[in-house]
């Protein structure tokens, strides 16, 4: 565990979360959410929980992004709020 690396990842994590919530285009929000998943995967791998990081990389950043994009393309693309 390296504290500097931790802090950098956490700052990027908060920024990605805020962007994913505030972007109006839901497709862009899905992409930023994928970035969020990769950052969390990096954080867990760096903390030593490699199994959880592997799950997050495959599920959170890989397949769930595809599922969200498929859903967004079949519904409305603009966020309403």
């Amino acid at each position: 565990m390296i504290v500097t690396f931790d802090i950098i990842i956490l700052i990027f994590l908060v920024v990605a979360a805020i962007i994913a919530l505030s972007v109006k285009d839901l497709l862009a929000a899905a992409m930023v959410f994928s970035i969020y998943g990769f950052l969390i995967c990096l954080l867990w791998a760096e903390m030593g929980a490699v199994d959880v990081a592997f799950t997050e990389a495959t599920v959170g950043a890989g397949v769930s992004t595809v599922l969200i994009v498929a859903t967004v393309l079949n519904t409305r693309r603009r966020s309403s709020d």
């Binding site: 903390m47 199994d51 990081a53 592997f54 799950t55 495959t58 397949v63 994009v69 498929a70 079949n74």
Partner: protein, 267 residues
């Protein structure tokens, strides 16, 4: 506007309380903290037991897999059932079995919605690369499943990667072509077969009078020396079951979500 200010205030206050609580946490990786060392005078710690005895009990170096598939096998079985239930729910909500009352797609032009490789030179590059990459992904996924108790990995990760390889084929080529290889009846059957593999391996010890999911009783079936290797081999079987279910459900979710449950056309 007022609602946003109220929401921000409540988030800030909750965050401040949580940050204040963080200062009372034990250090990262502290061996003397209650989860690691147990409460003095109380119950001994479970994690210490796992860390010290997993290799002796099961001959599996990866403690996480041993806890997931052996010590806490009941949890993992019903996690797999949760995934199966999610897939069935998506199937029940979205799948349109009769074509007449299907809701109209956003772009009804079939030439644009159907992903075809033939004659469209833009997609030749992507389609060829994905057809080369999909077997590599599947081989790596099988390695992750089979090697899950020696290195990080296991049934969930390998199953998701196997499903992702089929999703990649459907995204880059055509969903119709992928469905001829991995049809709807196939994936719905395989989703249940995975659960049956898991629960069947759990039921086999009851045959000889042991508990449910007590894999040590299977040493006669697997022809191993002691009960430890039988537990190790059973973990591999259990992970194969999990991988089969997760693979099928991931592809079922994608196929139903991307085509509004009609399984025709593409994204």
């Amino acid at each position: 506007m007022k609602a946003k200010i109220f929401a921000s205030l409540s988030v800030l206050i909750t965050g401040a309380i949580l940050l204040y609580a963080v200062t009372d946490f034990p250090d990262f990786g502290d061996p003397g903290s209650p989860p690691n060392a147990g409460v003095p005078g109380g119950a001994p710690s479970a994690s210490r037991y796992y860390l010290e005895n997993t290799y002796r009990d099961t001959k599996v170096p990866n403690v996480v897999t041993a806890v997931l598939a052996d010590y806490r096998g009941y949890d993992t079985m019903f996690e797999t059932v949760v995934i199966l239930t999610a897939g069935i729910a998506i199937f029940a909500i979205l799948r349109v079995l009769r074509r007449d009352d299907a809701p109209a797609a956003p772009d009804p032009d079939p030439a644009r919605t159907d992903h075809t490789i033939d004659g469209d030179h833009h997609r030749i590059i992507v389609g060829t690369t994905c057809r080369i990459a999909a077997p590599l992904i599947q081989i790596f996924a099988l390695y992750v499943v089979a090697h899950g108790h020696y290195s990080p990995g296991g049934g969930f990760q390998g199953g998701v990667m196997l499903g992702a390889s089929f999703i990649l084929l459907a995204l880059s080529g055509s969903l119709r072509e992928t469905l001829t290889r991995f049809s709807e009846s196939d994936y719905m059957r395989m989703a249940f077969i995975g659960i049956v593999i898991y629960a069947g391996l759990g039921l086999l010890p009851m045959w000889v009078g042991r508990n449910f999911l007590d894999y040590g009783a299977l040493s006669g079936l697997f022809m191993t020396k002691g009960e430890e290797m039988a537990r190790s081999h059973s973990m591999l079987g259990v992970e194969i079951g999990v991988a089969v279910t997760v693979m099928s459900i991931m592809f079922a979710m994608f196929a139903n979500l991307s085509t509004r449950g009609r399984l025709r056309g593409g994204l």
